[in-house]
């Protein structure tokens, strides 16, 4: 039986969230949970086990950088792969997120094949 994976998408823009969820629905056996911001993301993390996290950087209440830091310091989720979504002008944010322990980044505007490929790569799902 194929493994089932779960993914947490943390994104404040409903549009981006919907787009990400739609793209990720094409990855077999991947269950997606949505969170509005970093705090909501941590709440969802506390309530379940996730195999991968995709998070935006710029979000209200708690941004993606803080979320990455909190996840990496949490013994339960410290090894969960994190993909950050950045805009082109945010090289500093990108570097900072990678320093904090994010595994990969995707630049906006996102393209579904790119997101799918990155998730499959980090979850080691064969294409």
């Amino acid at each position: 039986m194929a493994s089932t994976y779960s993914c947490l998408v943390v994104e404040d823009s409903p549009m981006m969230r919907q787009l990400l969820v739609l793209a990720l629905s094409r990855v077999r056996n991947l269950k997606v949970t949505e969170a509005d911001d970093g705090v909501d993301g941590l709440r969802k993390l506390a309530g379940g086990k996730f195999d991968i996290i995709i998070t935006d950087i710029n979000m209200p209440i708690m941004d993606g950088l803080k979320l990455v830091k909190r996840v990496r310091s949490d013994p339960t989720h410290k090894d969960v792969p994190i993909v950050i979504i950045t805009t082109e002008g945010s090289n500093e944010d990108r570097s900072r997120a990678l320093q904090l322990g994010a595994n990969a980044y995707i630049t906006k505007p996102i393209q579904a094949p790119q997101v799918i490929a990155k998730v499959k790569e980090l979850l080691k799902i064969e294409a």
């Binding site: 823009s13 409903p14 549009m15 981006m16 919907q18 787009l19 739609l22 793209a23 805009t87 082109e88 002008g89 630049t107 906006k108 505007p109 393209q111 579904a112 094949p113």
Partner: protein, 290 residues
């Protein structure tokens, strides 16, 4: 008495002499006979040896010929095998080329389907988000967000027509201060055509990008906004994100969707917001729809 040779006749010779002569003749005959026999034997032995040698040589030749024949047959078999293999190779190569061609077609088709799928996904999300709310700020935010998040616009302004003052007025912007975005005059003519002309002029001549001061930069895109067939506004995309080097098919489809839906959504949201979300009664709806 003597014979012709002068020898005394046998009958005249003594018996012993005759016997001796006969013995001599017999010995001579035997000597000759055996000598000849020995010679014949020698000849026969010699001949036999020659024949044996010949047979040996013939056998050797025969063996050689047999080997050669076998070798020739093996070569012929090998050549036939090579021909068969060459034919098989050609067939396989041809099949491989066909497969490569098919794979290429499938890959291209897959890329097309992938692109179409992405296009549909973006259009679905855009349409969904554009009409999910009747709150004017939300609709306006979604119009901008569609261009920023889905297309990769860096700065943009949304214009709406002021038919009384005959100009296109900026009503919202992103990546640029709204207060500094200039209005675009609408020249004389039928309202719809005049707006279309203003949009075209804005696109062709460029709408000033405030961040660039006095430099008039050509906008990346002008998307006329329609309600039915009436031009009522325009979205001007001044600049794109650095990594966004060109518009894709999906972007153009999104522009079409925005052009057809955004103004309707804005106007609908405006009326809905203005009436504090008061819903029309079924009678009112029936009265209008007939």
């Amino acid at each position: 008495m003597s014979d012709k040779k002068g020898r005394p006749r046998r009958s005249d010779r003594p018996e012993s002499a005759v016997a001796a002569e006969l013995k001599q003749k017999r010995d001579a005959f035997l000597h000759t006979f055996f000598k000849r026999g020995a010679e014949l034997t020698d000849e026969l032995v010699h001949e036999n040896k020659k024949l044996r040698d010949t047979i040996a040589k013939l056998e050797e030749d025969n063996a050689s010929l047999k080997t050669q024949l076998a070798s020739d047959r093996a070569i012929r078999d090998a050549l036939r095998k090579i021909e068969d293999l060459e034919r098989e190779k050609s067939r396989l190569l041809s099949s491989m080329h066909e497969q490569e061609e098919i794979t290429g077609k499938i890959t291209n088709r897959f890329a097309e389907v992938e692109s179409e799928l992405e296009s549909f996904a973006n259009l679905y999300v855009a349409s969904f988000q554009l009409h999910i709310s009747l709150g004017l700020p939300t609709v306006m935010r979604h119009v901008k967000e569609l261009l920023v998040q889905l297309v990769g616009a860096k700065s943009l302004a949304v214009y709406f027509v002021d038919e009384a003052r005959r100009k296109l007025e900026p009503i919202a912007s992103d990546g640029v201060d709204l207060a500094s975005v200039p209005a675009v005059p609408v020249q004389d003519g039928a309202p719809g055509n005049a707006v279309a002309a203003a949009i075209e002029r804005a696109f062709l001549t460029g709408v000033p990008h405030v961040a660039d001061g006095d430099v008039r930069t050509e906008p990346a895109a002008c998307i006329p906004l329609h309600i039915d067939d009436r031009n009522v506004g325009v979205v001007v995309v001044y600049a794109l994100l650095e990594q966004k080097r060109r518009f894709l098919t999906v972007d153009r489809e999104l522009f079409k969707l925005l052009g057809a839906h955004a103004a309707g959504a804005i106007v609908g949201a405006f009326h809905h917001t203005r009436t504090d979300g008061k819903l029309p009664t079924p009678e009112e709806l029936r009265a209008i729809t007939g």
